[in-house]
């Protein structure tokens, strides 16, 4: 029995090592353009990890994570553009401010469940870009702020290094006592509370961590595009993070890269290829999303696990995964 567990771990380690090697080798094969595409995939990896903490592990639905990306993006843009900060130095700042914003949203979110929380976060995604537009003295309004450009290689390195750090942080957070508490809250709040888990504390903390990660993702997103304005953080961004998280597989960390690649590479690939006319791209993309949901409703994590012929553990964690409920309560 012990041997089996060890074997599984070796397999997981092997999988991570293989993925790391691929990610590390890629930039030397890719063109400059594809490097920045690769960097943007890492941005979605970070954002989806963040959403996964709050929706996948504590069961609080958020359709508004683009709002937290906006907070990080504007933190970086304003600090570098108006205050001459170094790019990388803004990332910890985005993390801290994002955490604060997450806690502020997380506190009232304690009162809401399911459909109400979904719709309130949806409104948040629309409201935050409006606020950025309003204070144009700092944010540049609709004309935005232009930032210095970076090479694709630099961006790729920064984005994936950050994604790796966030991945490890998430893993460490979720494997221990906090992770168990999160899952307990998700599976049954009343049961969790009666076994002495602080509901409000854990739920708010999860929201903070989640927003902090999304905020860092927003920072790097802005550095890659070397531009920020409210249109960058439109509703589509929030929807894509959610789609990516579910396609990747909520409640598991394995499918994150697949989900991120799905939402970043597929639409832009369709747009810039001649396979379908530009006007038909949304129709095709929307149809693919529906199809993916129909064939693998648990996301890619299960499929990936199945391919590798292993993680029973992952599957088991899935079968116990209770989706957040949508009912009004």
């Amino acid at each position: 029995m012990k041997a089996v567990a060890l074997k599984l771990q070796w397999f997981e380690l092997g999988l991570i090592a293989a993925a790391a090697i691929v990610v590390a080798v890629m930039p030397f094969v890719l063109s400059n353009y594809n490097r920045s595409q690769g960097a943007t995939v890492a941005v979605f990896v970070i954002a989806i990890l963040g959403l996964n903490v709050v929706t996948g592990y504590t069961g609080q639905i958020s359709i508004g994570h683009g709002a937290f990306m906006a907070i990080g993006g504007y933190t970086t843009a304003i600090l570098t553009h108006n205050h001459g900060w170094n790019d990388i130095a803004t990332l910890p700042m985005a993390l801290v401010i994002g955490f604060g914003a997450g806690v502020i949203v997380g506190l009232p979110a304690l009162r809401f469940h399911g459909a109400y929380l979904a719709l309130l976060t949806f409104a948040l995604a629309l409201a935050v870009p409006q606020i950025a537009k309003n204070y144009s003295n700092f944010t540049g309004g609709t004309e935005g702020l232009a930032l210095p450009t970076h090479s694709g290689l630099w961006l790729y390195g920064l984005a994936w290094a950050t994604a790796a750090v966030i991945f490890v942080l998430t893993w460490l957070l979720l494997r221990g006592r906090t992770g168990r508490a999160f899952r307990a809250v998700r599976d049954s709040e009343i049961a969790a509370a009666s076994s002495g888990i602080g509901l409000a504390l854990h739920k708010t903390f999860a929201f903070g961590v989640s927003a902090a990660f999304a905020s860092v993702a927003g920072s790097i997103y802005v550095l890659i595009n070397n531009f920020v304005n409210p249109d960058v953080f439109g509703l589509t961004l929030s929807l894509y993070i959610l789609i990516g998280a579910v396609v990747g597989g909520l409640g598991s960390l394995w499918g994150v890269v697949v989900g991120a690649a799905f939402v970043q590479l597929l639409p832009i690939g369709l747009t810039s290829s001649n396979a379908v006319s530009s006007e038909a791209v949304p129709v095709v993309f929307g149809a693919i999303v529906i199809f993916v949901m129909a064939v693998m409703p648990q996301g890619s994590a299960v499929i990936l696990g199945g391919l590798a012929g292993l993680p029973n553990r992952i599957r088991r964690s899935h079968s116990s995964y209770q989706p957040p409920r949508m009912e009004a309560r």
Partner: protein, 323 residues
């Protein structure tokens, strides 16, 4: 014996709002005009909000594609008129098309997902429908703004310095009429009862012989019909116009209307919609710090405050938590 005040909070609040609007309107013609044109917009939010409430009641799912489906069916109506059908002819045909289309979407996009997935995957599927249907409108009919005739005369009447058109009144009237029909459906017909049972207790409903999956399809079909009505009212209004993204600005306020009303209450959605319409106009004309950009965030804050006080909306029933 202590008097229980709780049931009276909401009616008292509503009465207060109505008195405030009436007194303001008597005091100032500008206030009255802002209220009237705000209520006219509110009628549109209410109509789409109703469709959201219906689908939520029937399937316990928030349909993010509701606005896009409404836009699509409105274009269908426009297309029939281009082909020579009169307004009411096109109107009726469109309702049938919408009904069939709503059922088709449920069968093709939602049911396969629902069977193996969970609520969240269904939400993602509805987002997929949103992206696809909104894209299809631009793809099929192009980006141009089109003219959509109104069901009611656009002639305006002036009463004491306040202008209003039959179109405004008609829009509000249609949303109220829809509520009555819906209420009657759920309250007095076997079908309505079966639909509610299918949504809330699918297994129990199945045991008593309700065809649950058919009820869910029916819910989507009926919601699409309500959406089509909302779309046709909206497109004829000068403040929306018939164009591929016409529901973008409406959907968020329709959601807000539905949430304020308690998500399951048709009457709540209509009152919520009218209240939001009037509130937006009055906020932007009388509260100076609410700049045009801050209008949506301000509406969001108001909604949040109401919900913090009453987490299940103005007309929502508080349900007992299950372990």
């Amino acid at each position: 014996m202590p008097v229980n005040l709780r049931p009276w909070i909401v009616p008292a609040l509503l009465a207060g709002v109505v008195i405030f609007l009436l007194v303001g309107s008597i005091e100032s013609a500008l206030f009255a005009q802002q209220t009237v044109s705000g209520l006219a917009n509110g009628g549109i939010y209410a109509s789409l909000g109703l469709a959201l409430v219906l689908i939520y009641r029937a399937t316990q799912v928030i349909n993010f594609a509701q606005g896009a489906i409404a836009t699509f069916t409105t274009y269908v109506a426009w297309q029939f008129m281009q082909w020579g059908l009169g307004y009411w002819g096109a109107f009726v045909v469109t309702l049938f098309v919408a009904f069939a289309g709503g059922i088709a979407i449920q069968l093709v996009a939602i049911r396969p997902v629902e069977r193996r997935g969970n609520v969240l995957t269904v939400v993602i599927a509805s987002i997929g429908v949103l992206i696809a249907v909104e894209g299809a409108v631009g793809w099929i009919w192009g980006p141009e703004i089109r003219f959509m005739p109104s069901a009611f005369p656009v002639r305006t009447y002036h009463v004491g310095g306040v202008a209003f058109s039959l179109q405004d009144l008609g829009t509000i009237g249609v949303s109220i009429a829809s509520v009555v029909v819906l209420w009657a459906l759920f309250q007095f017909t076997k079908l309505g009862l079966a639909m509610r049972a299918a949504a809330l207790r699918p297994n129990a409903a199945r045991l008593v012989g309700v065809r649950v999956s058919w009820m869910l399809s029916l819910g989507w079909g009926l919601a699409a019909v309500l959406g089509a009505i909302a779309g046709m009212m909206a497109a004829a209004s000068p403040s929306v116009l018939l164009q591929p993204n016409m529901m973008d600005g409406v959907l968020i306020y329709a959601f807000a209307a539905a949430v304020l009303g308690g998500l399951e209450s048709p009457a709540g959605a209509v009152i919520g919609g009218l209240a939001i319409g009037a509130m937006l106009n009055l906020l932007s004309s009388y509260v100076s710090w609410v700049t045009p950009q801050l209008l949506l965030p301000a509406a969001f804050v108001v909604m949040l405050i109401v919900l913090l006080v009453k987490p299940s909306g103005l007309f929502g029933r508080t349900r007992v938590k299950r372990v």
